[in-house]
């Protein structure tokens, strides 16, 4: 292990990124419900209020719309607010402020004002939480022109992407989705100091020549396991989208042109989900390379069920295996 690296889970790596951002830029401030004294319901902001003070790590009243709307005013007048929405299901009321204002402040003023805020939202299922605490809302955000939507797939990715989101030259509103299943899912080596992962750039997690699995967020560790299970049969390439919007089409298309077979995997509902966009782009720009129809393995088109049934809805390694067989066994 590199002596400057530490074993961190994603809670620790995000906490570490936020403390670096607070340290290096006095205009960064965090605000949200229970993020200060309590350190956040997932403990992501633990210790930050103690270290940076209640002016910079602010416990707000219980008002998601107000938190985002206020952050827009702050960002427009020169601060770098990092609002936290406690759970995915409570983020929907903030869509009005994000779509109508954050996303178009620059265009509406032809660049006179900009809105460099970073909204952090824990997303997804798999932790047996209450109702409205396990949704996968990523495409709502990714659909909005003017917003950037980022979703890390582990501790290292989370820190690098979050620090890039809060860098000086990043001037657009960013929705930073944190798959809560990954918060304490695993630890990995993460540099202690500053580093950035470019926003708008997908990552080839593993190279391969037979099949491209395109995925993101909490699905990536499952895809890795599946690829290992099939390692003796197929050479599988894994593409982690990382930035859902704007999408790095080139990395996706390069992979598809190489392998000719595509499986898209994520836990959100299928219809008009992220896979629809990826499949459409592939069919527009790389159809002639395809050796088999594109396969989507996703959550079902049902509202996220309660804890006892969530595993029926969230696709797992077996679902991926079936998808891999389907796309690899296709014969014309």
């Amino acid at each position: 292990m590199n002596k400057d690296n530490m074993q961190m889970n994603m809670v620790q790596s995000i906490n570490n990124a936020l403390s670096i951002a607070l340290e290096r830029d006095r205009n960064v401030l965090l605000l949200g419900e229970d993020i200060g004294a309590a350190g956040g319901v997932f403990r992501v902001t633990a210790g930050l209020q103690e270290r940076f003070g209640s002016e910079r790590v602010v416990d707000t009243p219980l008002e998601e719309q107000g938190i985002i709307g206020t952050s827009i005013g702050m960002a427009a007048l020169g601060l770098r607010p990092v609002p936290e929405i406690q759970f995915d299901g409570f983020s929907y009321v903030t869509l009005d402020q994000l779509i109508n204002h954050a996303a178009r402040l620059r265009l509406r003023t032809h660049g006179r004002l900009e809105c460099p805020l970073v909204v952090r939202i824990p997303v997804g299922g798999g932790i047996k939480a209450l109702e409205h605490h396990s949704d996968s809302p990523e495409t709502f955000y990714a659909h909005v022109p003017g917003l950037k939507t980022v979703i890390p797939s582990g501790p290292y990715e989370a820190k690098g992407l979050l620090l890039a989101s809060l860098s000086k030259d990043q001037r657009d509103p960013i929705v930073f989705l944190e798959p809560k299943r990954l918060y304490r899912g695993f630890k990995e080596e993460v540099p202690e100091g500053e580093f950035e992962i470019e926003i708008g750039k997908a990552n080839v997690v593993q190279e391969g020549s037979d099949l491209s699995i395109i995925s993101y967020g909490a699905s990536i560790p499952l895809v890795r396991t599946s690829a290992q299970n099939f390692a003796d049969r197929y050479s599988i390439e894994i593409v982690d989208i990382r930035t859902l919007s704007p999408l790095d089409e080139k990395t996706v298309l390069d992979s598809v042109r190489k392998t000719g077979r595509v499986l898209i995997f994520y836990e959100a509902p299928r219809t008009l989900g992220y896979g629809a966009e990826v499949a459409a782009i592939i069919s527009e720009k790389a159809l002639e390379y395809l050796k088999a129809p594109i396969v989507r393995v996703t959550g079902f088109d049902v509202p996220m069920p309660l804890a006892k049934s969530e595993s029926y809805d969230i696709p797992d390694v077996n679902s991926i295996s079936k998808g891999i067989e389907q796309v690899m066994n296709y014969v014309t």
């Binding site: 401030l29 002016e55 960002a75 427009a76 509406r108 003023t109 660049g111 004002l113």
Partner: protein
């Protein structure tokens, strides 16, 4: 046609009190209502008349005269197809000019779609507003140093922006405040409650003025909320709140300048309900107004803020017929020039919408831009 409001403001608390044990009163509230100039332009006996020089009073009157003409002209430009749908402010000039008078250059205004007058009074050249209302974003690329946020079209969404703006100003230690306006309808919205709640909790330098013009498009004020005043909603946030006659420039200036300076001192937010009336249409697109009577509009015309200020100036001996003719001449020239400037603006460029969506244009948008400009079909654009 006119509905009676008494039923909606009936207070049951006294009846209920008689039935139970004598309550301990925890807190009592009152709402003050301020008027300095009455309907005839006379100051109330004993009223504190704000110290405004004759010159400033005349400037305010001239500005209000100009804005009245601007509003009329904007409507006619829309009717002639030279401008898009436009939201009229006629009747609310005293509030909007009072706003600008109470603010300093470094303060920020967060306007709604009915605040073209306040925006111009803050120093945005009128041709910018014509440009915006004609459907061109460049109209909101206000000149550097004129601290006006873009117009909020979604009702009440500007409240949290103003609160966040005030928060940023306070955080950075700047000697500036934010001032936000809202209509009577907006006070029913979550953004109003959430924003003003934060303003109270964090004691932020923000002033919110409700322009209660009696209607939210068609819905009368008494159907908007069950409370007797809109001002009292401020009490729910622990914020000082009051009413003022919104057609009385001196009254508006008095309460606003006090609230603005209070915010600047660090003594927190204020909520002001200014009672006024929309003499024009909601917008040029809404047409007939079966929800209100001619008689009602006539009654409010007698409370016109321009005429009231004129009568006050006349009583002070600083208004004459020849002055009025000069002012008419001046404002017409200013308006003609604004229209000339507006009509000389180039058409919006198609590339602007792509270039201003993100700080750096992503490849996807570059390719879509190329396809619109006919340089490259989208289907063939590089991924």
């Amino acid at each position: 046609m006119e509905r009676k409001s008494e039923d909606y403001h009936h207070d049951h608390s006294d009846e209920n009190r008689k039935k139970g044990p004598p309550p301990k009163i925890v807190k009592k509230f009152e709402i003050d209502s301020i008027q300095i100039l009455d309907d005839k332009g006379k100051t109330h006996d004993g009223a504190t008349v704000p110290a405004i020089s004759d010159e400033s009073l005349k400037q305010a009157y001239e500005q209000m005269k100009f804005l009245r003409l601007f509003d009329t002209k904007a409507v006619s430009l829309q009717r002639q197809g030279r401008m898009g749908a436009y939201s009229e402010f006629k009747g609310q000039e005293a509030i909007q000019v009072g706003i600008a008078m109470a603010m300093k250059k470094e303060d920020w205004l967060f306007p709604t779609y009915r605040d073209s007058a306040a925006i111009i009074a803050r120093g945005v050249p009128p041709e910018y507003l014509l440009r915006y209302w004609s459907g061109d974003e460049e109209g909101q690329n206000f000149p550097e140093g004129v601290n006006v946020f873009p117009i909020a079209i979604p009702v009440a969404s500007q409240i949290p922006h103003a609160v966040g703006g005030a928060w940023a100003l306070k955080y950075k230690g700047e000697d500036a405040i934010s001032l936000v306006t809202i209509g009577d309808g907006g006070t029913s919205k979550a953004d109003f409650y959430e924003g003003m709640n934060l303003a109270g909790v964090f004691n932020l330098p923000v002033v919110c003025i409700i322009q209660n013009n009696q209607y939210a498009i068609s819905l009368p004020r008494e159907y908007q909320t069950h409370t007797a005043t809109l001002a009292q909603k401020g009490l729910a946030f622990g914020i000082e709140a009051m009413q003022v006659d919104g057609n009385d420039l001196l009254g508006v200036y008095f309460v606003l300048s006090r609230a603005v300076e209070k915010a600047r001192r660090g003594d927190g937010p204020t909520l002001i309900e200014a009672i006024t009336y929309r003499l024009g249409h909601h917008t040029t697109a809404t047409g007939d107004e079966p929800y209100r009577s001619e008689a009602e509009i006539e009654r409010w015309k007698h409370r016109d803020p321009l005429e009231r200020l004129r009568m006050f100036l006349e009583q002070k001996g600083i208004w004459s017929q020849s002055y009025e003719s000069d002012v008419d001449q001046q404002v017409k020239q200013r308006m003609d020039e604004a229209v000339r400037n507006f009509e000389s603006f180039p058409k919006p460029r198609p590339e602007d919408m792509f270039r201003y969506t993100y700080s750096q244009e992503p490849p996807k948008l570059k390719s879509q831009e190329e396809s619109l400009l006919g340089r490259q079909p989208e289907a063939q654009a590089a991924g």
